[in-house]
């Protein structure tokens, strides 16, 4: 396995009230291999999107990535890069697609123009060659009648088609890693199935690594090789997908599973997690999940639990330490 990404102790901070900085991403570590799909799962405000932006140092000021964070893209130390160096990895080595393709596409240029622009930003090719490649990309992402869609403006395309155009733009630079941040959240389920199919096919055919960021455990189950569950800026549990789904161990992960309505099995009353995710300024001392945790005990208030690394299954919970 070729390692394409290594993230160690990633911290992203923003200035808060009375001169303090708070960290919506607080010590996140993970790795990604070539051809692998890893899912970062969590609810709003858990820090999953900021984590993905931090990979290419796209955190908007006054936010900043802590200089002691480790981000290695293959042999490249991303934390050591500046200006032009950063520009050369953004898009080129790490491609990104987001939830809402309409806001990411420019309404006054055609799909072909925008894909062509992405190609010419990274490769010295003629306009005609860029157009030729754009056409091939549109075919690759499964747009029917691609030659005609090349000259379509974003408003003339459906939501699913726009997301395919965004994927084509991200692929234009032939990145090693594709970050897909809630790529199907704004789409209908039948369209969602189409887009996930496309992503999976591309990962296999191009050997890309995919970092899939989502709130939906259902999407993860069929697509990701590994899952990391985030809560309050930290990874609280990580395991290969079948293992995590067979034995969800962190009380937060268990709570998420118990909250999801199912299409099979007996219909039971849902058991939601009490309360809601607190903002970073209100994260409690000790374990951050403690105020909502049905299994909390004394130790959870005293100190934050470390990430206990098992053979296949990591978890940040005092229960993993055998309780007391």
């Amino acid at each position: 396995m070729t390692r394409v990404l290594e993230v160690g102790n990633l911290r992203v901070s923003f200035p808060g009230e009375n001169g303090r900085r708070y960290c919506p991403v607080d010590g996140v570590s993970f790795t990604l291999d070539r051809g692998e799909t890893m899912a970062l799962v969590g609810e709003s405000g858990c820090g999953k999107s900021l984590t993905s932006l931090a990979l290419v140092r796209l955190i908007p000021p006054p936010g900043r990535v802590d200089p002691k964070s480790v981000i290695h893209l293959g042999d490249t130390d991303v934390m050591a890069l500046q200006g032009e160096g950063l520009r050369r990895i953004r898009g080129r080595r790490v491609g990104m697609i987001f939830q809402d393709p309409m806001t990411s596409l420019n309404p006054v240029f055609t799909a072909g123009d925008q894909i062509g622009e992405a190609i010419r930003a990274h490769f010295p090719v003629s306009r005609a060659e860029a157009r030729e490649r754009s056409l091939r990309l549109l075919q690759e992402v499964g747009i029917p009648d691609a030659a005609a869609r090349l000259d379509a403006y974003p408003h003339q395309l459906s939501g699913g088609m726009r997301q395919r155009v965004m994927i084509a733009i991200a692929l234009a630079a032939e990145p090693e890693i594709l970050v897909a941040d809630e790529p199907t959240t704004a789409l209908d389920v039948t369209v969602q199935a189409q887009i996930l199919e496309v992503l999976d096919r591309l990962r296999a055919s191009r050997g890309m690594a995919v970092l899939l960021i989502t709130h939906d455990l259902g999407i993860v189950a069929g697509r990701a090789d590994r899952v990391a569950v985030m809560y309050a800026g930290q990874i609280v549990e990580e395991a290969p997908t079948p293992e995590l789904f067979a034995r969800p161990s962190h009380p937060y992960t268990q709570g998420l599973f118990a909250s999801v309505p199912r299409i099979h099995g007996p219909v039971k009353r849902l058991t939601p997690i009490a309360g809601s995710v607190p903002p970073p300024a209100d994260w409690p001392a000790g374990c951050r999940f403690r105020p909502r945790c049905p299994k909390a005990f004394d130790k959870c208030t005293q100190a934050p639990p470390p990430l206990v690394v098992g053979p296949q299954h990591d978890m940040r919970c005092w229960l993993a330490e055998g309780g007391q």
């Binding site: 609810e43 709003s44 029917p144 459906s158 939501g159 699913g160 088609m161 209908d188 389920v189 039948t190 369209v191 969602q192 199935a193 189409q194 199919e197 709130h215 939906d216 455990l217 259902g218 999407i219 993860v220 189950a221 069929g222 997908t241 079948p242 789904f245 709570g255 998420l256 599973f257 118990a258 909250s259 999801v260 309505p261 199912r262 299409i263 099979h264 219909v267 009353r269 849902l270 058991t271 939601p272 997690i273 809601s276 995710v277």
Partner: protein
């Protein structure tokens, strides 16, 4: 207001509801109407939930809004507790709205940012003069507590609350006037899963305690299964299948229901079945296909010319009613056939 129908009759009866929109204005491309709702009939029983399921643009929200006369219907009838809704004038309508309420996907956009939560919940009580002025604060506090909020929140403003709390506020507002019927328009779609579960439980509890009837509009079949015992699936302005939720999910008869069901992402790696990935996009509701609206995307092995000519009627097949000429032979999700 006295009930006009026998207590065993359905609370709401909708027949042949049609809602067409006409594109107007500078960028108008054609005068062809958008057929958002194209002949929809259903009933909602007392204390019952009917779920209306479909994807964006299928017309499910238009159905809910038209019944409440937030939008005027093009044609059809809706009878609520024996009262014809569509001929009512403004004054009669206002009186009836006390008994029919709506909650939206995004309660934030329906809350006035400069009005306290208490004032927002009290509004309905004041408009309909349901309580003497001095009793209103106590009523508001009781409502907030009923939906699981602290009564001290009455003095706070909408921006101070999370999405889940705002949805609870929206529910408290709807409950204030003691309605019999609530249109729930995607009430949990914008919420995180843990909060979504809280709101679904709350809606079930309120239904049981107050005997409410819901028209629950949603796109997520798993959510629908949790809350509704009957479900109607819409496609391009029409109901294509209707029936008891469990029967419809275990043996769908319309190919669109089959596809929709197979696309539901399931949080269980052992249950990853082969998906039916539908070809193409939803056709435009201003230019729907002839015959069966689903025929251009249909994967049914018996699809033929008849489907593009003859509109299939809703008819009983097995335990549901389905609008497909060949509903008897619709393949199951476990044995998908991709065109």
């Amino acid at each position: 207001m006295t009930a006009g129908a026998a207590p065993t009759a359905p609370l709401l009866v909708v027949r042949d509801l049609v809602k067409h929109y006409h594109a107007t204005g500078l960028f108008r491309e054609s005068t062809r109407p958008i057929r958002a709702v194209d002949g929809v009939s259903f009933e909602v029983g007392r204390g019952e939930t009917l779920a209306l399921v479909g994807e964006s643009g299928c017309g499910k929200s238009s159905v809910g809004r038209t019944i409440l006369r937030l939008q005027e219907p093009t044609s059809g009838t809706a009878v609520f507790d024996g009262i014809e809704l569509f001929p009512l004038d403004r004054k009669e309508l206002r009186r009836l709205r006390r008994r029919m309420q709506i909650i939206f996907q995004d309660p934030y956009s329906s809350l006035n940012p400069r009005m306290t939560i208490g004032a927002a919940v009290a509004e309905g009580l004041e408009i309909h003069r349901l309580a003497p002025r001095k009793d209103i604060p106590a009523r508001v506090n009781a409502l907030l507590e009923e939906v699981g909020l602290d009564s001290s929140y009455a003095r706070r403003y909408p921006h101070e609350f999370s999405g889940g709390q705002r949805q609870r506020i929206g529910i408290a507002r709807a409950l204030a006037v003691q309605p019999a019927f609530i249109v729930c328009d995607e009430p949990v779609s914008a919420l995180d899963v843990s909060v979504q579960a809280q709101v679904l439980n709350l809606l079930s509890d309120l239904q049981r305690e107050r005997g409410l009837s819901y028209l629950f509009i949603a796109h997520d079949l798993a959510v629908v299964r949790q809350i509704a015992r009957r479900v109607a699936v819409m496609y391009l302005g029409r109901i294509v299948e209707e029936g008891p939720t469990e029967a419809l999910l275990s043996r769908p008869r319309h190919p669109y229901t089959v596809a929709l069901l197979s696309a539901v992402p399931e949080p269980d790696p052992a249950r990853q079945r082969s998906r039916i990935v539908l070809g193409g996009d939803l056709p435009s509701p201003s230019n729907p296909p002839s015959g069966c609206p689903f025929h251009p995307r249909c994967f049914h092995p018996r699809r033929n010319e008849r489907c593009s000519v003859e509109v299939p009627r809703l008819r009983p097949v097995g335990s549901t009613t389905a609008a497909c000429h060949y509903a008897e032979d619709t393949p199951l999700p476990e044995q998908p056939k991709i065109p």
